[in-house]
């Protein structure tokens, strides 16, 4: 566990989390949530949880982003907050 990389990735995770719930476009929020999930996957790999990293990359980042984009295209991209 290299603490410099860990601090950097934790900072990016926090930024992506705040950005995903503040951006004024639902498609942008879905893509930022995918970036958040990939950063978490990197964090699990740094902390030695390689099986969790694999699952997060395939299920958390892959399937979740596809579901979000599909739902946004079936509804609307407009959001007030």
């Amino acid at each position: 566990m290299i603490w410099q990389i860990e601090l950097l990735v934790l900072a990016i995770v926090l930024i992506c989390a705040v950005a995903a719930i503040t951006v004024k476009d639902l498609l942008g929020a879905a893509i930022l949530f995918g970036a958040y999930s990939f950063m978490l996957c990197l964090l699990w790999a740094i902390m030695g949880a390689v099986d969790v990293a694999f699952t997060e990359a395939s299920v958390g980042a892959g399937v979740s982003t596809v579901l979000f984009v599909a739902a946004v295209f079936r509804t609307s991209r407009r959001t007030k907050d």
């Binding site: 566990m1 958040y36 030695g48 979000f68």
Partner: protein, 131 residues
């Protein structure tokens, strides 16, 4: 003051876990858009996963695959050399449950949008009052 900095650095995973959990909880409670609420729910779930993985992690240890596997009987296996794999196994289940709840929630959002033509909570409540 000089004692505080090593504590903050060594426990930084837990501070980020608390921050992520509060961000997710705030999004679930205070956001007006239903998709934003679902994103907040997912951030809350991943914060819990971060907490559990941080419990199992340790410095100067390797991933939990036993070394000298073909003649393990000649070597003593020290648990201090390996990251604790029990939280990893529990959190694998949590990730799959998270994507299942996400699918159900997005299906419900699509049905709500078919009925009310909006995703904003206040507009949905106003249309429910009209009917």
């Amino acid at each position: 003051m000089s004692d505080l900095v090593p504590i903050l650095i060594s426990k930084v995973n837990y501070w980020v876990y608390i921050a992520l959990m509060m961000i997710g909880l705030w999004a679930v409670i205070a956001k007006n858009n239903l998709v934003k609420k679902i994103i907040g729910m997912n951030i809350l779930q991943t914060a819990v996963i971060l907490f559990f993985i941080s419990i199992g992690a340790k410095y100067n240890a390797t991933i939990p695959i036993i070394m000298h596997g073909h003649d393990a009987g000649h070597h003593a296996v020290n648990a201090i050399d390996y990251i604790n794999p029990l939280p990893h196994v529990l959190m694998l289940t949590a990730i799959v449950v998270a994507v299942a709840t996400l699918g159900v929630a997005l299906a419900l959002v699509i049905k709500v949008h078919q009925k009310y033509q909006t995703l904003e909570e206040d507009e949905i409540l106003a249309k429910m009052d009209e009917q």
